[in-house]
Symmetry: C2
Subunit: 207 residues, 2 copies
């Protein structure tokens, strides 16, 4: 798995002319970095003088952030698999009518998977932004900028994942599927992108 390779190897692969890893993988890594920064802030708050009152809440935030971090790191592989699956569907033979029908169905399945992976990334990144807000509000003042960076990373992850949803949805023929995914991504962008800006403002005013 590419996330078990060195950071520099991941960056080399990202920059190469290979179609994967691409923007979807970068989005998942940004989301995971956002979650890790929330965890960091929790870890640097728990047990610190003056933060005994919020210790229980910071423990809960830490568990939630670690769960999202692992989910997001796993999505790098999911993104590569979904993209490769879709490319494999496009490469299927299309000489006979039967082949055409089969290929068309495989492409539709591939498009759905390639929509649901970034949607899951966007959903998890929105979760990270909500955690970053709470961490910024009650966590250790000395490391509040890390909550701000966490929110920015998760915001970039969410908006990047949204681009990948927007790419695939127009080609999906199952209208109920397409419209439910379009609605969900629009709702996530509408709620979590401004929330990340609020985290940034909370952080910036306290520096």
């Amino acid at each position: 798995m590419i996330v078990q390779q060195p950071v520099t190897t991941f960056l080399d692969a990202l920059g190469s002319g290979s179609a994967t890893p691409g923007g979807g993988s970068a989005a998942a890594i940004m989301g995971a970095m956002g979650a890790a920064l929330v965890s960091m802030m929790c870890n640097l708050t728990i047990g610190k003088k003056g933060y005994a009152e919020v210790e229980g809440e910071m423990q809960s935030l830490l568990m939630a952030a670690e769960e999202l971090r692992l989910q997001l790191a796993d999505m790098v592989a999911d993104d590569i698999a979904a993209f490769d699956g879709l490319m494999a569907a496009y490469a299927l033979p299309k000489d006979t009518d039967e082949q055409k029908t089969k290929r068309s169905a495989a492409i539709q399945d591939g498009l759905k998977a390639a929509t649901d992976v970034p949607l899951a990334c966007a959903r998890a990144s929105a979760g990270v932004i909500a955690l970053a807000m709470r961490a910024a509000q009650v966590g250790n003042r000395n490391v509040i900028s890390d909550a701000g960076v966490g929110a920015l990373a998760a915001q970039a992850a969410l908006r990047s994942a949204a681009l990948n949803v927007y790419i695939n949805v127009p080609s999906i023929k199952d209208e109920a599927f397409a419209s439910s995914r379009r609605d969900e991504i629009n709702a996530l962008v509408a709620s979590a992108v401004p929330l990340a800006e609020q985290v940034y403002d909370v952080v910036k005013t306290q520096l």
Copy 2:
């Protein structure tokens, strides 16, 4: 060096209760991912049918993006060194007047280094955003979303780095130094953050 460790190890270290790597390192990695995505788009444009006219320009963009990617990846280590240097300065003895003077000077030097590293990260990230704009304008339409993700990653990197400049500048006593850094970061944020939004819009309207 931490960038030679696996991605998952970097994420573990980022999330841990150790002060480094922190937001500054995450910013540098986001900037490097942004540069890598511009490189990817160049690599998937060069030699492709219909893009012969922009081949020379894409070669130049690729070289510039790769240069920025390497610079940004190196800044992870610079950020950790600057932060550790500043912490070491704060830890110096302060029992005698001589020690106090020495410690104070070391802290001032540390603050300057801890300002100039994120400023360099912000400058390089602004460079990535400019390259992403050109890549989005003339590069391969089929992978235009990667230029969009690249711009979002670099934008998050720039704004994150800016937070780290804002933290340190108020404590710097050398007014000429402080105001020149404040001016530069404000100018970078004012020009490159909206440019990244323009890249996003260029990309989104073409999906």
